[in-house]
């Protein structure tokens, strides 16, 4: 292991490129540029954040309650960082989704701290000549923001961001082409307009957040059913493949949610999982028998990490636990490690002992057996 303080004598030629994209930070593991998903606990699971150029696939819970919150966090983070946004949804009107983003709790806090420091300045006269502490810089470079689910983000704040919504209404040729191809074309146009492609030599100052809600739901196509086979899947898989290619070759990230509980053929889900970089699945307890299990009474569902991408590395980030749960508090949603208490109660161990020792005692006792039986 090389020492912590040791500095390599090798340096890259040319000057180091300083990335000045708001809301982005380089990964500590592999110098990838990371973006926050809006949920610190999810960022942690993904290895610090979502690398620019990757796709996160979220498998929706049955009633699409919690997966929608994930999507809103992701979009709200984009609004706070001033990223370009592209949201596509057929199930839910994208306008409604954008209008119900969680409120940010950062700005008020920052303003408060700024006013208090000003007051302190007047008292501590020796520091009056000093420049004010750079609070604004710190907040501009903040990686992730805090959100409050009780409030909704103000309209003018959302309106400030360059947003494109896709609800399929402008697609005239839906009967012949479906919605996948028109959406892909629109995303491509957005990337070209923003100059986000890596082929474009301009210095990048912003990134685009793509969000596709309820992909492959019955409104997109009939892929989920058991009657349709490859000739129909082809449209969906082609779309995701094209989307991946677009995202890889540009400064953008993508979050896709799919109603995987509808899928009859698991092979379709496997294909989608193979095409995405990160795959997580939400399994809510709403209406399932797990809701009544006392182990889960504090939580709202299980969080499965299906796939983590290994970008620029050989292995994906290692997680320190396998069972995760999510819980919706009043103001925010968190993902936590699920601890199952070990089975140490006496009744359990004794019954195991009995089953083990019984045949032994019978075999060993042999001739003693009649003596112990008293009549």
């Amino acid at each position: 292991m090389s020492g912590v303080g040791a500095v390599s004598s090798f340096h890259k030629r040319g000057k180091a490129r300083v990335v000045s994209i708001p809301g982005a930070r380089p990964s500590v593991h592999n110098s990838q540029l990371l973006l926050s998903t809006g949920m610190p606990s999810l960022d942690h699971l993904l290895g610090g954040g979502l690398p620019v150029g990757s796709i996160l696939l979220v498998e929706q819970d049955r009633h699409d309650v919690y997966s929608k919150l994930f999507l809103k966090y992701y979009l709200a983070e984009g609004v706070m960082s001033g990223h370009m946004l592209t949201l596509a949804s057929l199930d839910e009107s994208p306008q409604t989704l954008m209008a119900t983003l969680p409120a940010s709790t950062d700005r008020e806090v920052d303003e408060d701290s700024a006013t208090t420091t000003d007051q302190q300045m007047t008292i501590a006269w020796r520091y009056q000549s000093q420049s004010a502490p750079p609070t604004s810089l710190a907040s501009a470079n903040r990686f992730s923001h805090n959100f409050d689910l009780l409030g909704t983000m103000e309209e003018d704040q959302v309106a400030k961001v360059d947003t494109c919504l896709f609800d399929g209404s402008e697609v005239e040729s839906a009967a012949s082409t479906g919605y996948y191809w028109p959406l892909l074309q629109q995303i491509e146009r957005r990337i070209a307009d923003g100059g986000l492609s890596t082929a474009c030599n301009k210095a990048k100052t912003n990134v685009m957040r793509l969000a596709v809600h309820g992909l492959a739901s019955p409104l997109w196509g009939w892929e989920f059913s058991r009657l349709e086979k490859d000739h129909q899947w082809h449209r969906l898989t082609t779309f995701l493949y094209g989307l991946r290619a677009l995202v890889r070759s540009s400064f953008s990230v993508c979050m896709v949610t799919v109603p995987s509980h509808l899928f009859h053929d698991m092979a379709l889900l496997r294909r989608l999982q193979a095409l995405a970089d990160f795959v997580v699945r939400l399994e809510s307890f709403q209406g399932s028998d797990k809701e009544t299990n006392p182990i889960f009474k504090d939580y709202h569902g299980l969080f499965h990490v299906v796939k983590l991408a290994a970008i620029n590395t050989l292995v994906p980030p290692l997680l320190d636990a396998t069972d995760w749960v999510f819980k919706l508090r009043r103001r925010r949603m968190v993902i936590e490690r699920l601890h199952l208490p070990p089975e140490l109660s006496e009744t359990v161990s004794r019954s195991q002992e009995d089953t083990l020792t019984k045949p032994n005692t019978l075999a060993c006792m042999g001739d003693k057996l009649p003596r112990n039986l008293e009549f």
Binding site: H63, V65, K68, L69, L90, D91, S93, A175, S217, P218, L219, G221, W222, F224, S225, R226, L227, P259, L262, H264, Q286, G287
Partner: protein
């Protein structure tokens, strides 16, 4: 989730007290139980509330339906789209537009006329014969999102409609009513609110002749479909039932019990004398209390 509020879920749903009312409501029945009564309940509730009802029928012709649903003295009026009399155009030479064209196209002209409307699709499975399923689902979804449309009620048999279609409509619907074959009549209710809350309930109900729901209460034992009472009794034997089945007498008369209680058994006599400890000291016992360790050879 227990639905022990002042009104039950089904009650609120059928009397349109649920706010906001589910935009897309799915009502299913099976061959054993008919959901038509509940459907008429919903239609009548809309008519009473002053909402115009656009009724697309594929199984009964409108004349027959009018005998059940009366709109003479209600604020809202009913309008029929006849897909039952001649859907394939064998008599007129032209197939009925209301079953072949997509739902928003059929209803749009009426929706735009102003006023709130409710759309009823009577028998989804019949429409599926004439339309592509994707188009049908999309049509339902667009219709439910129109601002003039109060509610879209889709009625189908869950055992005859294709499974994919049922799942697709259930996925999109914000309210689902599955009628169950029980005695008394009950149904499984699922309401997805816009806030994200999901309400699930199993409720019994009965219908009045003028199509109102009454006596709604939560079903006690969920999952039991009409199990007769006597079979459950025989499967769980009690001591009394076992005693009655034997050929010899195991019970005591009062006289016999008294005689049994008075009998003095050998061990009871010993117990009444009280106890004492008998101990014979061994030879090796050490009774010297001054030095308890003097037998130690150090």
């Amino acid at each position: 989730m227990a639905a022990v509020v002042t009104r039950t879920v089904l009650d609120r749903l059928v009397s349109l007290k649920e706010s906001p009312a589910p935009r897309l409501l799915l009502l299913t029945d099976t061959v054993e139980v008919c959901g038509r009564g509940l459907l008429y309940c919903l239609v009548c509730a809309h008519l009473r509330a002053g909402t115009h009802v656009l009724y697309l029928t594929t199984s009964f012709n409108p004349v027959e339906l009018r005998q059940h649903i009366k709109d003479d003295d209600t604020a809202g009026k009913i309008e029929f789209y006849d897909g039952a009399t001649d859907p394939c155009g064998w008599d007129s030479g032209e197939s009925a537009e209301c079953v072949t064209k997509s739902l928003p196209e059929v209803m749009r002209s009426r929706c735009k006329a102003g006023g709130k409307v409710a759309v009823v699709v009577d028998r989804l499975e019949h429409l599926m014969l004439h339309q592509d399923s994707g188009q049908l689902v999309r049509g339902l979804h667009t219709l439910a999102r129109e601002s003039e449309v109060e509610q879209v009620v889709v009625y189908c048999g869950r055992d005859v409609v294709c499974e994919d279609m049922l799942e697709a409509v259930t996925h999109l619907a914000s309210g689902v009513l599955h009628l169950r074959h029980t005695q008394p009549c009950s149904c499984a209710v699922l309401v997805r609110k816009t806030s994200g809350k999901v309400i699930k309930a199993q409720e019994e109900f009965s219908l009045t002749p003028d199509f109102r729901v009454q006596g709604v209460k939560p079903t006690q034992n969920t999952g039991q479909v009409g199990v007769p009472a006597d079979t459950s009794a025989s499967s769980d034997p009690t001591p009394e039932s076992l005693l009655a089945a034997t050929t010899f007498s195991l019970s005591l008369t009062d006289e016999q019990r008294r005689a049994k209680n008075e009998l003095l058994l050998p061990h009871t006599r010993v117990q009444t004398e009280g106890g004492q400890i008998l101990y014979t000291p061994d030879q090796e016992d050490d009774w010297d209390e001054d030095d308890p360790d003097d037998d130690l050879d150090i």
